[in-house]
Every structure is written in C-alpha cells, then in structure tokens.
Symmetry: C2
C-alpha cells in the first residue's frame, strides 16, 4: 500500500491509484489550502476566502445512499463522487454559503485501486467545479463489515457566509413564488424504492421508451447537480427569500423546513412535465402518488422562494445560467394549504 | 421514523431514540452554534470562538475501523462514539487547533434505536468533554450494504488555530526529547490483527492474566483518549516543538510525519513498560516485534517533541494533568538513526 499524505489528504491505497489521484486532488486546492504543512489534519487559511466582517461556518455531512449499489451493479464509479460533493454543497449553499473545503470517507471490504481512483476523481472533479478544496480523506478497509466489491462513502463540506447574508427564510411571505430548478434525475434519494421497482423489471442496460434512449443504469446514475451558481446568482441580486434542496422528503417536506411559522406552501404538481424516469418508476411499481411526492424530487432539484414582484427577474437570471426555472407553487397561509 | 432537526443535526430515527438524544446533543452546543436557524447545514458563528488575528481552520475525517466489530460482538455501543470524536480531535489538536464542531455519519442495515442512541450519546459525551459542538449528523439505513446489526461510523471535526501558533514541527531540532503520553489501549488501530489473534484464543468475557482483571472485551473497548488538554497545556508554555498522534503506523510512522528534512527519531522501546494487552497480543499471536511497532501504539497515544532544556517543565505540566509522561527517545540526525 502506498500512502498519499498532503495537506491532510491521507490516503492509503495502491501505488498506482495514489499516483493517479495526486494531480487531480492537488488541482482542487484553492489559495486557502496550506499545502506546505505536512499534518494530521487539513489546514485552510480563512483569510484566503476573502475578507469577511462576521463569518459563519456552514457545514454538512452526508452519504449517497444506495445509489452506490447502482454504481456497483453497473460497474461505473466515476460519477458517484460528484453526487456526494454536489449533494453536500447544495445543503450549505441554500443558506447562502460558499464551500471552502470537503473531506471524504471511503470504506470498503477490500480496496480495488481502479474503483478507488474513479471515486476520488469524481470528488476532485466536483470539488473543482464548486471552487472547493478536497482537503482531507480517510480510506478504510474493513473486510468483516463490507462485502468484496462493496463500499460506502461519506462526505463533509465546510462553507462560509457573512452572518447578515445568511438566507434563513425569515423574510418569506405569503404570495412568494416557488421557482423550481430542474434536477437531472433522482439525485441521491429514493434509490431503495427505485432499484426495487426497476430492477425487478429491467436489467441496467435496458432502454425503456420512457427514458428517451437512455438505459436504466444511465438514468439512475445521472449526476446530482450542484445549484451553487444558481443560488449565488439569485442572492447577488437579492431575488430570493429562501431556498430548499430537494432530497429525501420531496419538494414539500424540504421546502417546509425553511418556512417561518404560520406559512405553508401549495405546490401544483401539474405545473411541470415530470421526467420520464419518475413516470416509469410510478407506472412500473404502481407507486401511489403520495409516496412519489414524499420520496422523489420529481424533476425539481432546487426550489427558490422568490417574491412575486421579483419572479420575472429571477427567471431571467436563472435562464442566463441555462436554468429553465418554472413556477411550481406559492407560499400560502398555514391554514389555507 | 421521527426526525430530529436542529442546527443542522438531521436525524431520522425511532421517536424514542430521537427524544432521548435531543437533550445530550443540545448540551454540546457552544455559544457559536446558531440554533435559532432551522437549516440544511449546521451553522457556527466564528466570532464566538474568540477573537483571532489570522485564523486557520484545521479539519479531519476518520472512522474507528473494526473496533466497531468488537462493540457489536460485546453488545456495548456507548463508548465507540467517544473513540471517534477523540480520534478526530487528536488529529487536529496536534497542529495546535482547538475543536469547534463535529459532524457524524451513522450507516447501518436496519436502525436499532437502542444502539443508535448509545452511539450518539458517546458522540455527545466526548464532544462536550472536548468543548466541541455536535452540530450535524446523517443517519443512513442501507439494508443492501450492511448486515443486520452492523453499522459503520465516520466523523469529521473542524477546529481553529491562529496561523502563527500552528505547531508544524519546523522548530524540531536534533536532541529534542520524545515524551510519551500513555494510551488507554489500542485506541482505534490494529483491531483487525488484535481481533484475529485474541478471538481465535478467547471469548470476549475471558480474563487472561495479562489483562490484570479486565476481560478481553473490556480491554479492547477502552476508550481512545483525547490529548487536547495535554497538548494545549504544553503549547500554553511553549514547551513543545511538535506532536504526533499515534495511530496506524505506530510511534515511528506517525512521529516521522512531523519531522523536518534531515532529522529522524530513535525510539528506545525498552524505556517504558508495555501494557499487558500488547504483550498478550504479541505472545498469543506470535506477532513479530516489527509488526507490533508498525501496527500498535504500544502504550503511547501521544508523542510530544520537547527541547531537552524544557523536558523537566513539560513533565511537570503533564504530571499536573495526571499524565505520567515518560521519555521514549530522541530526535537524531537522519543518517544516525
């Protein structure tokens, strides 16, 4: 086993794997990373993230659930790392934070250097795209806990926001509009149900018509998107009063988390065309509509809550980023929902 | 499933488990935790950690390896969380950092509320002892990945240090003394070997004479110690030029990581009495001395590298904290090792 230790990135893996990931990991390093210091931890120089009056650190830890099992089934491991980074980044971005750095945990029964490399390259790619340094990692081999070929991932992101710029939903008002920003697929939620339904009927290479040419495996592995740029663009023009990252719990479950007391949301589920993957799961699995809404994002990965008067400008700003945002509902009084 | 969401602590678990952990998790909250904000991430107000001129964030992510399998075998889950927190805290403390907050990942096949509660209470206990807020967590149920009863843990700690107070080993000089601070047992390393050796011969309840009355299970589950207070006390009087947290790689492997180029260490393994657990593993497993040294801490959980002239004071400072530090070697020229 070779060891890659730099700026807290402590990776024990095959020599070839370590050689291959070294460059891509280093490419994620932003000026804040103190690489000159060999250390047990990853060091990040806060001043390098820009002068701040009253900074608040925003952090989140997460996994990717059983999307892992799809990656293992299909034998495609180069995007699951992106899924994890983007999921974590979105969870802090909705507070208005920008990510500073990310740390990963990779646990497996027996390390397969090619799989390890693919996963870490996914972390590195997404970290770079989000302007976030891959500053630390732990690789664990536990043959008694994981079956050969299986692995689990956890990731932790730390970001920063000015205290008076935190987006916390307190300014959300009745009549605000819910703008949906498209997801790319299931993101990282609902995989236990989706796998059960789809793999009872199909193999991963099947291309049911509803998927418009994609295979079941491809559709299920589509990368969880990062909404960092969209969120930051709306914040820059003060266009949103809140954001919700649509994960487990669905559009309503997640969006209700950011509402002030006394308010609720009314979502019009007919307002957008539900992507084929969700329609296929519902049809094949005969999944009740209520379960679909609670389990899946249904094509909406991010909800931006926007004052009605700013709706047109918000759509223009998102459109300029290539985001065809669509109105999916409104904020209402709690008893009117 | 009930959900506990507060300041980024997002826990889906049995209602009873959530009810029980809520108080202890909240007790870890330091003034920096912005609890008033329901959020997708955990928010920490940096100013609450004290005024700093030029702060550096120090972070580490880790697991506890197959010590988990001992906890599962013995059915004792209330200390494994402490192991993880203390391991992570030590990894940043050796740079001079104090921990600000901790996030955990708990993945299992099927959530057992009593086990979950015990593990989280362990996190909370150790976080509180280290002055570190348990600010976030993710609980994942993945029956296809983990066997019933099995679980894995990952934890991430974020700490802070003044840039000009980072302890990075650059002032280490030939002749500096290596002071060993006692471990409580294996801490979180070497469990694959230790389990294989000991459980081939004993059951967990056995009390071999070398363990001085403790059972094999008790000895193996002894909590990974936190060295935060010892490290901070030495730093406060400028008594140390470097620290090494002795984990996988042993005393030499870890201590070499902090040495400047051109220096090495000479460890005198006869300088302290090796605890019974290590002697038992070596004897029962006929483990070569070299493997013992590379795999285990051998009774030394922390090495403080101290200028010879400050050795006596350093020992006094540690002694006042109840730490019977002992001299285990010296810093030497690289070619003289």
């Amino acid at each position: 086993m070779a060891t890659y230790k730099e700026a807290g990135v402590d990776i024990d893996a095959g020599e070839e794997a370590v050689r291959r990931i070294k460059g891509p990991v280093r490419e994620t390093f932003t000026p804040g990373v103190l690489t000159e210091i060999g250390s047990f931890g990853g060091l990040f120089h806060l001043a390098a993230s820009g002068a701040m009056r009253d900074p608040v650190l925003v952090s989140s830890i997460d996994g990717v659930g059983t999307k892992l099992k799809v990656a293992t089934r299909v034998g495609k491991h180069d995007t699951i790392g992106e899924d994890l980074v983007n999921h974590c980044v979105n969870d802090i971005a909705v507070s208005g934070a920008r990510p500073l750095f990310f740390l990963d945990y990779f646990a497996t029964g027996s390390l397969r250097p090619d799989v390890f490399e693919a996963v870490v390259l996914g972390f590195a790619k997404a970290c770079k795209a989000n302007g976030c340094a891959l500053i630390g990692g732990e690789t664990a081999e536990m043959p008694d806990l994981y079956k050969t070929g299986d692995y689990d991932l956890a990731g932790c992101v730390i970001g920063i926001v000015e205290r008076d710029s935190i987006v916390d939903g307190r300014d959300i008002e009745e009549g605000d509009v819910l703008l949906g920003v498209p997801s790319s697929g299931l993101h990282t939620n609902g995989y236990s149900l989706a796998r059960k339904v789809l793999f009872d009927r199909y193999v991963a290479a099947d291309t049911p018509e509803a998927l418009g040419g994609a295979s079941v495996g491809e559709a299920l592995l589509r990368v969880h998107r990062s909404y960092l740029d969209s969120i930051q663009a709306l914040i820059a023009e003060d266009l949103a009063t809140g954001f919700s990252h649509v994960t487990g719990g669905g559009i309503e479950g997640n969006t209700r988390r950011v509402l002030p007391d006394g308010l609720d949301i009314a979502v019009d589920y007919s307002a957008w065309k539900r992507p084929g993957l969700f329609r296929l799961i519902q049809e094949v699995g005969e999944v009740p509509e209520e379960d679909m809404r609670r389990t899946f994002n249904l094509g909406v990965g991010l909800v931006a809550i926007v004052p009605a008067a700013k709706k047109a400008r918000a759509k223009t700003v998102l459109g300029a980023l290539g985001e065809p945002a669509f109105e999916i509902g409104r904020v209402v009084k709690a008893d009117a929902a």
